[in-house]
């Protein structure tokens, strides 16, 4: 038996465990099915093996073995494609769609998790070979914690303030606070909306947040998450009953109009607050050089 067998096994196991820890089925309900989970666990296992195998290959001066990692990169990019395609296909059958930005965010995180697994496998088997199993265990734990920190992005609550607001009609125009949402013609629909609708005002805390929550994908993510968590009063034949978010052009506040089945203000606020800030929606105007050099002084 090769001297590397235990380090490799250890790396593979540590990497696979880190994939299991990162694979949680939460309110996003994805991946829900056993089959979906098995796909991701198997890919995690492959990633861990690749990472763990790289160390002995390098130590044996088999440098060409590193090219195997490029194969891995291609493989995991395909994971992203697979996730994107599946979710996009399913999105058209959702009562309230996820939106492309949200899907892309999910797909990216599936890809990057595999890389984290690969690094975990690499680092643990490396430390096993260089030192001993105990240090490898410590490294594995550090990797789990780091992976967890890296994979949990910020939530909306960090960048905005959420308040409940009244919904009202001015003629046919539906308003949340003073923000115009849409035109509803039928008296019957108006009654339903007044009965089931709820309004919230999302106020950005700073300039960066204004641009971030202005993103249409980010707004769709808010509506989707709220509809998943609280249910939605809507069906395929009633396009007038659509949760919508519109923006106040003056100050960048958002008027959130939702039609939840569970009408609980506190829960709704909490759900909106815990919507992830999508990586693709984040804008940092305050980081531009013009601002940094002090051109923007009040």
């Amino acid at each position: 038996m090769s001297e590397y067998i235990y380090p490799i096994l250890f790396g593979v196991v540590a990497g696979t465990i880190s994939r299991i820890l990162l694979l949680r089925t939460d309110y996003r309900q994805y991946p829900t099915y056993l089959h979906g989970k098995i796909i991701h666990l198997s890919l995690g296992f492959i990633a861990a093996s690749l990472g763990a195998l790289a160390v002995p290959a390098l130590l044996e001066k088999e440098f060409t073995a590193v090219t195997l990692l490029t194969v891995a990169a291609t493989q995991f990019r395909d994971v992203r494609n697979m996730e994107r395609n599946t979710l996009t296909e399913m999105d058209s059958f959702e009562l309230v769609t996820r939106g492309k930005t949200y899907i892309e965010g999910i797909a990216i995180s599936f890809e990057s998790r595999n890389y984290l697994v690969m690094f975990t496998g690499f680092l643990t088997s490396l430390s096993y070979i260089l030192w001993n199993v105990f240090i490898a265990i410590i490294v594995a734990i550090v990797c789990f914690v780091l992976g967890h920190i890296l994979m949990s992005g910020s939530v909306l609550e960090d960048i905005v303030k959420i308040d409940q607001a009244d919904i009202s009609f001015d003629g046919a125009g539906l308003y949340v606070d003073n923000i115009y949402i849409m035109n509803i013609g039928l008296a019957e629909r108006k009654k339903e909306i007044m009965k089931y609708g709820m309004g919230f005002i999302v106020t950005p805390k700073n300039m960066n947040a204004i641009s971030t929550i202005g993103n249409l994908g980010q707004r769709q993510a808010i509506i989707h998450d709220v509809s998943v968590a609280l249910g939605v009063f809507r069906d395929s034949g009633t396009p007038a009953l659509t949760p919508l978010i519109k923006r106040d052009l003056d100050d960048g506040r958002l008027g959130v109009f939702i039609l939840p089945q569970i009408r609980d203000v506190a829960v709704a606020k909490k759900v909106i607050g815990s919507v992830p800030v999508l990586e693709n929606a984040v804008r940092m105007p305050s980081e531009t050089n013009a601002y940094k050099k002090g051109a923007h002084k009040k």
Binding site: G171, A172, M182, N183, I184, G185, L186, A187, E188, R189, S236, G237, T238, P239, A240
Partner: protein, 61 residues
Amino acid sequence: MNIEKAILAVITTNKEKIAGGAPIFLCETKQELELIAANLEAIMDGIAHALSEELFIIVKH
């Protein structure tokens, strides 16, 4: 070019105000107008928007 929104039907009680284009439904009363608009909304999967008290349109979004 891809046209995303379209007026599928126009419903009105005032025929002076309308001409041509989309299918037009003339109604006698406000009740009739609401009824037809509600039915068309359900059938066409569009939204009934009110441009004024006597003029509704069904829009596909």
